[in-house]
Amino acid sequence: MSDTVKDDVRVAAPAPAAPAAETARRPRRRLDGDGERGLLSGYDRGRTGTRWGLRAAQGLVLVLLVVASLGPILWLARASVSTTQDTLRTPMAFWPSGIDWANLSTAWNEAQISHYFANTMWVALGSWFVQLLVATTGGYVLAVLRPRYAPVVTAAVLATLFIPGVVVLVPLFLTVLDLPVVNASLLNTYWAVWLPAGANAFNVLLVKRFMDGLPRDVYEAARMDGAGPLRMLWSVVLPMSRPILGVVSIFAFLNAWKDFLWPQIVLPEPTLQPLSVRLPLIRDTVELDVFLAALLISMALPIVIFLVFQRLFLRGAGLGGAVKG
């Protein structure tokens, strides 16, 4: 759970970028010229010394980023198709005894990574759905419908922001073991991961603040046309909220993929566990080369998602700023 919370902090982190909002909406290309400029002026950039200094700094940063960010991932990619002995004896050499493609299929099939991959997918999709459902319906009611008790609910949701996930780790766990009123145990079911994921105040507040900022006359117009609350949500508010829903979705999915502590606690049954929980355990039982291949497979999907939706990720910062409270 705490992992979730930690990630939430990261997700929400863009929020403080509020002042960026005003400018971020304007085209960003115009770094120079009329008022939109950075640290260096056009004059600075014209000076040879500064220009080369800047280029050198930027080149250095690029090299640093490639080595630090890409390096470990490329190393893993290389190691996952190397033999165990190569990886142990000459970790930085390139395939002294040839490429061992079989690792990947051994990991996928025999080490059953395919099975845990599917579990992870299931965990992530369910968490995504619950988070989106709670955040959109909740945000909609609190921001658009605004019943009289809305401030109370908003405050109660807000209050959970102040309580770190750690404090509820054990009681939440006991709650999952024996749900009050319904007296059911969610242990060893995916509901135990999905439902608590929905209790994410950051999501609700992000969506609420975004919807707060939507022009209210649109709602009035829709109401005039006789749209009920549900119709209005579905055909007016949701389409307009697509940007924020994209951000919430992508972080909800990825955070669920990354989550470790909570699924480890509530899914003790090995056949149900996602990759994060399973990887530390299979380390002891498969050969190193297969294990490294398993690591590579486990990080592949998040990276692909990131590459595909890179713009959404990076724009997250600006969007986060746009929903200031």
Binding site: A15, P16, L39, M92, V157, V204, S276, I305, A317
Partner: protein
Amino acid sequence: MSATIRWVRGGGLSTLLLLLPLLLVFGYFAWFPIGRAVVMSFQETNLVADPAWVGLDNFRQVLDDPLFWTSVRNTFFFTGLALLFGYPVPLVLAVVMSELRRGKGLYSGLAYLPVVVPPVVAVLLWRFFYDASQTGVFNTIFGWVGLGPFAWIQDASSAMPSLVLQATWANAGATVLIYLAALTAVRGDLYDAAEVDGAGLWRKIGHVTLPQLRGVLLITLILQVIATFQVFTEPYLMTNGGPQNATVTVLLQIYNYAFRFGDYGAATALSVLLALFLAVMSAVYFRLTRSWSTT
């Protein structure tokens, strides 16, 4: 009663229905457990028998545990190191990157890449990198320039810095993006004005850039403190608190109480103590975002 009904009706029944997912999920998995945490910290339970009230025993036990201060010290150490590594580096990166005219996407993409790697994968991979033998990955690389071999996580004094290094690798990208966003908001006319006053590059950074970023810097500071105080995956998977308890953090201690020794009372008591501390930090954070975003 009817007043209540009218009050609820005030929003309409369909409104309430729409709010139901939020109320149920938060009720069951946020509000109720928070209340229960406070109650549980005064109880002893083994999950089999009915819980018994034990007053402040759990708190006393937690505070008397010789590992309590070790874990607090370690957590502060982790946080301090994380700030030392993870605070200035992203700032420098962001300042350089914000001056890019082309390829900003590439730079930020690269910077952010480690953030999307699942923490468990990253930690297990780095644990292998930290192999202390001559042929360990990092030791091989350092060997090229005649350094090492280093003990990394196999030594009490270097274990925590090694953990922090990994955590910084995993998280710095997110901070870079925050700074980048904030930098685009620094008003150009301030630079113009500084230039009119004849300020050079460093003066501009010192007198315009940093003061303008003050709010964001403070907020990321607090966010980092809050996040690092809940650090778990790294010490749990990399060293499991060792060597010599050098990497036992507060959250690891909570986990061990609950899930290694079955002492749920002590675990919640320590959670409540940690929560009190973090709640203060969060309150500060919230005040800052508020006051800062209205300026």
